[in-house]
Symmetry: C2
Subunit: 215 residues, 2 copies
Amino acid sequence: MEKFNGLDEEKQQKILDAALMEFAEHGYEKASTNRIVKEAGIGKGMLFYYFKSKRDLYEFLAEYSLDFVVEKYFSRIDMTETDFIERLKHTSQVKFEAQRENKNVFNFLGTFMLTADYKLAPHIQKKYEAMQKTGNAMIYEDVDLSLFRDDVDVQKAFKLIRWSIEGYQNELLHKLQGQSMTSIDFDPYWEEFYEYLEILKKSFYKKESGIDDYS
Amino acid sequence: MEKFNGLDEEKQQKILDAALMEFAEHGYEKASTNRIVKEAGIGKGMLFYYFKSKRDLYEFLAEYSLDFVVEKYFSRIDMTETDFIERLKHTSQVKFEAQRENKNVFNFLGTFMLTADYKLAPHIQKKYEAMQKTGNAMIYEDVDLSLFRDDVDVQKAFKLIRWSIEGYQNELLHKLQGQSMTSIDFDPYWEEFYEYLEILKKSFYKKESGIDDYS
DNA sequence: GTCCCGTCGACCAGGGTGGTCAATAGTAAT
DNA sequence: ATTACTATTGACCACCCTGGTCGACGGGAC
């Protein structure tokens, strides 16, 4: 374990990337250590020199990823914004930046959370649960409820808005799949995204009193 | 092939179910014919007696599933309903019934559509595309646009509504996973679903003129 | 020289793969 | 009873891949 930390950054990252990708794509059981070492460009022996087993590697990645998300995503969210939709907008931007910084971590956590059947070392399990809890607070805490229309259940409105945003992000992901992240100009998609958010505001928020646009 | 059709219904269904489940869970490559025959309760030889290869079986299932969806789902949809949300409500009910009739088919098609990378026999590919096209028409054709608010882009409203509904269905699926289909009383979930639909109407449709509820 | 550490990849036993086939059991016709 | 035919089985095949080990080697430090 200390063996691995002694490596130069670049090699560490190459191994982590290879491993994260492999587990993300195939899940724990079907992930192949052979493919990992080939992708990472190291000999088979080294992987088991750094990590004592496949499981060991997996748990290392889990902890690494959870730490990454907390540091590069959660800790950067502005909790002083009390407008629910504005907060989600901001959150999407921060998440996007974190994803761009290391997208393998997010892919890994995606399948990690889906297949949480394998019981993990307790300290990782704990970290995982803490992350979920924080993530929830990030979205719902200190939201100004008075912005919402009076004639709809705010809890339900929350959900509808989140589902809408997830829907847009999934569609975008699907539409852009196969294109290299770097070659895309995201500005028009952000524009489109903001338009959707404006519609959500019009739909779920009160009409702003006074400044109406009965143009 | 004709060999398979000669079997009694019950045995046919058992084999189909086993195979659909296996492919749904593991995708084409990682699906195991050994597991299929064990689950279906037949000898290994019979599978290759009925279907000349794994690929052959897979394409048979694809065609079978597509036919099933068209017959038990699409053909039962009432296209005379012009209220977009009412149509989606009705569609959800019909889909639910079809799913209850054979849920393996839907699970299979789920992963089938995701991993459409393998090129299929052309006549199946064609059927698949036809199904997608029909499915789209089912939702968007002959919709009464005048119900929607004037201050939002109707196309975007369509999408927001669909994402919302998919979001609810996914959450429900996730929440109920592991419970046996038959032991659940779905009525309260339908109620909840309808409440969401009412909110969507309030949000995206015009206020009904005259009959307002300023109670 | 000699120690040590990082590195490699051939190698291991075990298990799973899609597909085959000789051997049956069953049925029906002669 | 004999023949002919089909439905059925599961042992078996050659092959591939698995997580993990280990002897060998290279090169730097002393």
